[in-house]
């Protein structure tokens, strides 16, 4: 085939962010055009293929933050070293739409990764942003110093208080939105968290954009695997970033996920 959809990326650096999260800096032989919030399908030949958000892109170099979850992510953690190759298709999907007016960025867990890319792009456009990063504990915290560069104000929270304020990112966000200074809230993380944030922000007239995960198979909108019902929104193609108003019109947001047979299952059962 002339069209080789897989681009070959070389691992330049592997950083352990936590015990279960690594950051891979990759280089590729061509400029990589993408928006924050977009993702790539990462193929490990003979192992599998998974969607991973772009966490920073700079010309021919970009970063992926990968949390160990199951088969493919574990394989990558254990076997992919500097100098190895990863195979990519994409970038796919619709990322964050950068809005004017002060931004509130709220991330949880490895969900902060694409938000770093977002924070940088906002900063480059002179849009100011406050950032809230929530983690389970100090050991799970990632990318804090990286965010400092782009955030007007950076608040870290942990469930156990081992770093920053004790509590959830939602708790922190609730206090911040009361200050009435934000035009848009951008979020990525656990869907239950994002659900609360979207409700919270919309109640206060703040626009919201949230980046979702679903089971991605094709990545190109042709298999229906990643759908949000009953609107038939495809996370892989119409998303992964959606505006909060739209998400609240779905039944699935914050509640259901479709398993690999297509059957809906409660979202708590997923991870």
């Amino acid at each position: 085939m002339i069209s080789l959809p897989y681009r070959v990326a070389t691992v330049e650096e592997v950083r352990n962010l936590t015990r279960d999260i690594k950051m891979y800096t990759l280089s590729i032989n061509e400029t990589f055009n993408s928006d924050p919030g977009q993702y790539v399908m990462v193929w490990v030949p003979g192992v599998g293929e998974i969607p991973i958000s772009l966490s920073l892109v700079d010309g021919e170099t970009f970063c992926l933050v990968i949390a160990r979850k199951g088969k493919v992510t574990s394989y990558i953690h254990e076997n992919i070293k500097e100098g190895d190759k990863l195979y990519l298709r994409g970038p796919y999907g619709n990322g964050f739409k950068l809005q004017g007016g002060k931004a509130l960025i709220v991330g949880g867990g490895y969900g902060v990764a694409p938000l770093l890319f977002l924070a940088r792009e906002l900063a480059r456009r002179y849009v100011r942003s406050d950032v809230v990063l929530g983690f389970r504990s100090k050991e799970h915290a990632i990318l804090i110093s990286e965010f400092e560069e782009y955030a007007d104000r950076l608040v870290v929270s942990t469930d156990d208080g081992s770093l920053g304020v004790r509590g959830t990112a939602v708790d922190v966000a609730r206090q911040l939105v009361d200050r009435n200074i934000y035009a848009t809230l951008y979020t990525c993380g656990k869907e239950q968290m994002m659900y609360k944030l979207v409700e919270l922000a919309l109640n206060r007239g703040i626009k919201t954009q949230a980046s979702l995960e679903r089971l991605i198979k094709c990545g190109i909108g042709i298999c229906g695997s990643c759908v949000l019902e009953p609107l038939g929104l495809r996370v892989c193609r119409d998303g992964p970033v959606f505006d909060g108003e739209t998400l609240l019109k779905t039944v699935d947001f914050g509640r259901f996920w479709h398993d690999s047979t297509g059957k809906p299952i409660p979202i708590e059962e997923v991870k």
Binding site: M1, I2, S3, L4, P5, Y6, V8, M41, W43, P45, G46, G48, E49, I50, K85, Y87, R89, I216, K217, C218, G219, I220, G221, I222, C223, G224, S225, V227, L228, E229, P230, L231, G232, L233, R234, H258, D259, S260, T261, G262, K263
Partner: protein, 302 residues
């Protein structure tokens, strides 16, 4: 005089507002996507092939894009006939165009069980390229007798049934068997078995190794098979499917003998593709002085 040409199509057991039918598989099992397709203009929707038991399908990668088509090895993921029955029951409340429920089965008994679950659909479609258990992994296309028996028993129980043929195996012989069994129509064609190897990774790309080729690449093969079916079974409605990406492709299949057109891969471009196909067909009819789309069915045989 200057009225628009009529696009409505009589598929025998189904009447359609226009010839565009969504092919099985490309909307997964999503009612929301069915609705989007309906709103975009589709005249009927074929649901994802259902098996009696749920199937997870193959591991990723499940698709590989080519310049001129698509390889997929979805592996027939579906939630099983019972769950699918619920989805279709719900879908019938929301979707106002006919739903054709695709299914796969190896024996009449299995088929009847599935059919009972899918009874809310407007018609059934037997996917003859579904993995065939008895045949040890081969597909049903290699077992004409099973196809005959499934169709005749499903018909005997009062269901309407289409048979979806692939280009593999002796499809004309199978079509004859299906005809004898009283089939209500043919859908042709399914994907062709194919494969892609990444030359950098030096490995087959698809999780299922072998996948199904759809899109432009298979269009001339679909035209042939529709033409042959129409020649031999002029009275059996055909849903011509395979590589329809432009209205010209659709018209080609209609001229070959299709009554309606199934579309899959073209939806990669978005649902607006449906409107573009319909506009093009309508303009073609008007420009060529036809008042009714049925006038051109099978015209290439004249």
């Amino acid at each position: 005089m200057s009225s628009e040409p009529s696009l409505s199509v009589d598929l025998g057991v189904l009447k359609l507002r226009n010839p565009i039918i969504i092919a099985s598989g490309v909307l997964g099992v999503s009612i929301g996507l069915m609705k989007r397709a309906e709103e975009a203009g589709a005249a009927a929707i074929t649901s994802k092939t259902t098996t009696l038991e749920p199937r997870k399908g193959h591991e990723n990668p499940v698709v590989y894009e080519l310049e001129y088509g698509l390889l997929n090895s979805m592996g027939l993921p579906n939630p099983g006939a019972e769950e699918m029955g619920k989805i279709l029951e719900e879908a019938k409340r929301i979707i106002n165009v006919p739903i054709i429920a695709s299914f796969g089965a190896s024996t009449p008994e299995e088929a009847l069980k599935i059919a009972e679950h899918l009874k809310h659909a407007d018609a059934l479609e037997l996917n003859a390229s579904c993995p065939h258990v008895k045949g040890l992994g081969a597909d049903l296309m290699s077992d004409p007798k099973a196809i005959h028996d499934i169709i005749s028993e499903v018909k005997a129980s009062g269901y309407k049934i289409f048979l979806k043929l692939s280009a593999h195996g002796d499809y004309l012989y199978i079509a004859r068997k299906a005809y004898d069994a009283g089939v209500d129509g043919f859908t042709a064609i399914n994907t062709l078995k194919a494969m892609a190897i990444d030359i950098n990774a030096k490995k087959p790309v698809l999780g299922g190794k072998v996948g199904g080729l759809s899109g432009k690449a298979i269009h001339p093969i679909a035209v042939r098979i529709v033409y042959e079916l129409r020649r031999e079974f002029p009275d059996v409605p055909i849903i011509g499917t395979g590589g329809v990406e432009t209205w010209q492709d659709a018209v080609e299949l209609l001229l070959a003998g299709a009554k309606a057109i199934g579309i899959g891969t073209v939806l990669k471009k978005g649902f607006h593709a449906i409107g573009q196909l319909l506009d093009g067909i309508k303009e073609y009819l008007a420009m060529n002085g036809y008042r009714d789309i049925n006038e051109i069915t099978g015209l290439a045989h004249k």
